[in-house]
């Protein structure tokens, strides 16, 4: 996430939300989604993509998909 959003890794906390980060616009969101899919070898549904607008939600979706690391 830090790489895609070009943020310091220290800023990637559970509360970090799309609405609070200028660089995290809809295009960056798509880039983030593709990066997550490629990293974990999964294909996210549209509902999951829409839901993943905070770090906490991203973690929740990934846990739900069985991603543990």
């Amino acid at each position: 996430m830090a790489t895609v959003l070009q943020l310091p890794a220290t800023r990637i906390a559970d509360d970090l939300a799309m609405k609070d980060v200028d660089a995290w616009d809809s295009l960056k969101h798509m880039e983030l989604i593709v990066s997550v899919e490629n990293t974990y070898g999964i294909e996210l549904s549209f509902d999951e993509i829409v839901a993943m607008q905070t770090v906490r939600e991203i973690k929740r979706v990934l846990r739900h998909r069985g991603v543990t690391s």
């Binding site: 295009l27 798509m30 880039e31 593709v34 996210l44 549209f46």
Partner: protein, 249 residues
Amino acid sequence: MDLNGKKVIITGGVGALGRSMVDGLVSDGAAVTVFDINPQEFDSLMKAHPAVGCVECDVTNYDQVLAASAGYHQQFGAPDIVINNAGILYSSPLVKISAGGIEKHDVAMWNKVLSADLSSVFYVTVCFVEKMIAARTRGVIVNISSVASSGIPGASAYSAAKAGVNALTAAWAKELGPLGIRVVAVAPGFADTQSTHAATSARALTDTVSKVPLRRLAKPEEIAEGVLAAIKNDFFNGKVFELDGGLVL
């Protein structure tokens, strides 16, 4: 991409170029649905291709596109391929000098051409890409551009619209590529169709043919073959496939 079984939307599918594309797509096993403003041509199309779906739709009208795309989605889900082929040909100089003085390019025709050749591409694509992304469909958008996108004298509106189509192709390829949706354009030169002959004077057409190194107009099926090639090649993206016989070099 293998076309067999792929769901394809093509706008303007009953015209000469569109019909050639439909023939090629059906031959390759695609499930084709035509969006066209001319329902009187649907019977002859369906006689030749009984499995092809036909939807009456004016693609210059966003509300009609929205309703037609929703109807398609309800029945078939998201398409795999969208071909933005509908459009009109129109030639007029910016100013016409005649015995009566100087006559300006008609503003209503400017708006009509931009609506038919550029806005329609946006309307259709935005409606179907929404469905494709929601279904995570990895597909292709094909925009039919033209050799006129480089600027043809006497065709301000058409040239501007097609240049706009090329710009949309590049912008959308960058936006949608990460999601697995390719966006490509095919730019025919002058093709041997009724609409070409209707929009271009015989003298201008003879002059144009003399500038084509192959010294002839394109056959509609040659343009259709280019469209199929652009769809099938999975690494062709964001670019304009120029099929003009070498007219612009």
